[in-house]
Amino acid sequence: MVNVMGHKIDMAVNLGGIRMRNPVTVASGTFGYGQEYAGLVDVTRLGAITVKGIRLREWPGNPLPRHVEVPGGMLNAIGLQGPGVEGFARDYMPFLRTTGVPVIVNIWGADESEYAEVARRLGEVEGVSGLELNISCPNVKEGGSVFGTDPRAAASLVAAVRRATTLPLMPKLAPNVPDIRVFVRAAQEAGADALSLINTLPAMAIDIESRRPILANKVGGLSGSAIHPVAVKLVWEAAQAARVPILAMGGIMGPEQAVEFMLAGAAAVAVGTANFIDPGVFLRVIDGIEAYMRRQGLGSVRELTGAVICD
């Protein structure tokens, strides 16, 4: 990438062993398996494609309604519907391999052994670049947040998956914990190569006429603009305890929020709910980060990480 002045801008980042040619990916669950959006936008421009969470076997997810719009965002309780490892490798990896973009697979399970088995099997699938370990989904009874809100359970799980794979391993942390730094330390000591945050915030909406929860699952996860400042604060705190790179997400609607995350300490960012509203948003984010660097006279996007000034 060369600007009009011939000033070269280096957009590449290394997310714990996942080599991205720019710091922008998509949040798991908001971009399917990439192919759904391929007819609409150039998905090969992404720094990485992060796919929907998968467990060992096919999983049906939750009953409907699975979503509701709320001011500043939405609640979802999809419940991690997915094709299982084999279905994913068979039905979705062929397209993903054609993109030439690193593929991050979000994984989950009911217990440590399932997580580890999913990780082991994905290590045998050509084209998988890294694993995002989902220890913070608010919408499933097993797995998910059971591990995400107890630092010892999180550390034990990360260690178990670490033993099962040499792929870059990136636990996705829950936002609803008293001190995120405890989980940052627990995860990296157990062998995490990178950290991903934040997952959606546990939330609820009630239909006042019927007096019933709107989501069939009763509760779900809040995402979108509303959670962005919460996420910035958590990323900033996490970065102070982290030795490994951070992938930040939560309410990115354009390049401004992406830059904010990087200044707070993120090495890379993921666009989530905004994909549903504007499928081309990640292109604006990539181009906008570059424009920001040019304005600031910076040469490498890596200079942005943690560059917030706190006098």
């Binding site: 669950g29 908001t30 971009f31 399917g32 759904e36 959006y37 007819g39 609409l40 936008v41 929907k52 049906p60 997810g61 409907l64 309604p65 699975r66 979503h67 719009e69 001011p71 500043g72 965002g73 939405m74 979802n76 999809i78 519907q81 979108g224 603009s225 509303a226 609607m253 709910t273 994909n275 549903f276 509203i277 504007d278 499928p279 081309g280």
Partner: protein, 259 residues
């Protein structure tokens, strides 16, 4: 499928709560098939608001028509749009109806469910019968539009304020009986509330006809990525799978659907 900025070129009330909006959208209109839909980013409801899906009511000469009911925050804001205003539209999306019915085409519409069926009526090889139902006279739309293109129209309202008092499925029962007595074949196309679609599907199966149902589910992404609008479906071999109404539908054959 494209994501494009469209200009409003026409916008008029049809009844108190229903409106028709015409958009200049050559790329979408040129590709659109009956039963497909568009996903609209409504200006003025906040940048973080989700898109709204609308069935295509018509697509001709670069123009796209949608028909909508003012039911919430998004559609309320849409009523304020004027000629010359612009909005971002993804489309055409979804699979659409098949266009080669066996025998007579029976269209069954509930409320704004007439939208995709009127578009379909104009593209089918022969005119058939359009059965339109609603709660009251104000919910009966596009009746004259069907008649203008040579379709026979029957109307039912639950309060009896227009046409027959009763449900649109009562009208369907009568048409099915007529075909049965004459030994004629038919194929059913329906769009309306879930209860209506389900009742129509049962009748199609009982009559041994194909029944194509366009499902109305709340959507988020519109392209099959988010899994918010799923429907349990049955394959020919009896095994089941979970389809996405936005991507694998919104039109399914009645026997495919596991209610």
């Amino acid at each position: 499928m494209v994501d494009t900025m469209c200009e409003v070129v026409g916008h008029k009330p049809l009844t108190e709560v229903y409106r028709e909006m015409d958009l200049s959208a050559p790329e979408i209109a040129g590709q659109a098939r009956p039963g497909q839909f568009v996903h609209v980013r409504v200006p003025g409801i906040g940048a973080a608001s989700l898109r709204r899906p609308f069935s295509i009511f018509g697509a001709d000469c670069g123009r796209l028509k949608i028909l909508y009911k003012n039911v919430g925050r998004g559609t309320a804001e849409m009523t304020r749009l004027r000629t010359g205003d612009k909005l971002q539209v993804i489309g055409p999306l979804g699979n659409g109806f098949p266009l080669e019915p066996e025998g007579e085409a029976l269209l069954v519409a509930g409320g704004y469910g007439v939208a995709p069926l009127f578009f379909l009526a104009g593209r089918l090889p022969r005119a058939g019968v359009a059965l339109i139902g609603g709660r009251a006279a104000a919910d009966i739309l596009a009746r004259e539009d069907f008649e203008r293109i040579g379709w026979r129209v029957r109307v039912a309202t639950q309060d009896g304020s227009l046409g027959e008092k009763g449900l649109v499925t009562d009208l369907l029962d009568r048409e099915l009986e007529r075909l049965r007595q004459k030994g004629l074949r038919g194929e059913i196309f329906a769009c309306g509330p879930e209860g209506m679609s389900r009742a129509v599907g049962e009748r199609a199966a009982a009559a041994g006809m194909r029944g194509w149902l366009s499902l109305d589910k709340r959507m988020v992404c519109g392209v099959g990525a988010c899994l918010a609008c799923v429907q349990k479906l049955r394959r020919a071999d009896g095994s089941t799978w979970i389809g996405r109404v936005c991507h694998d539908g919104p039109v399914f054959e009645a026997r495919e659907i596991v209610w």
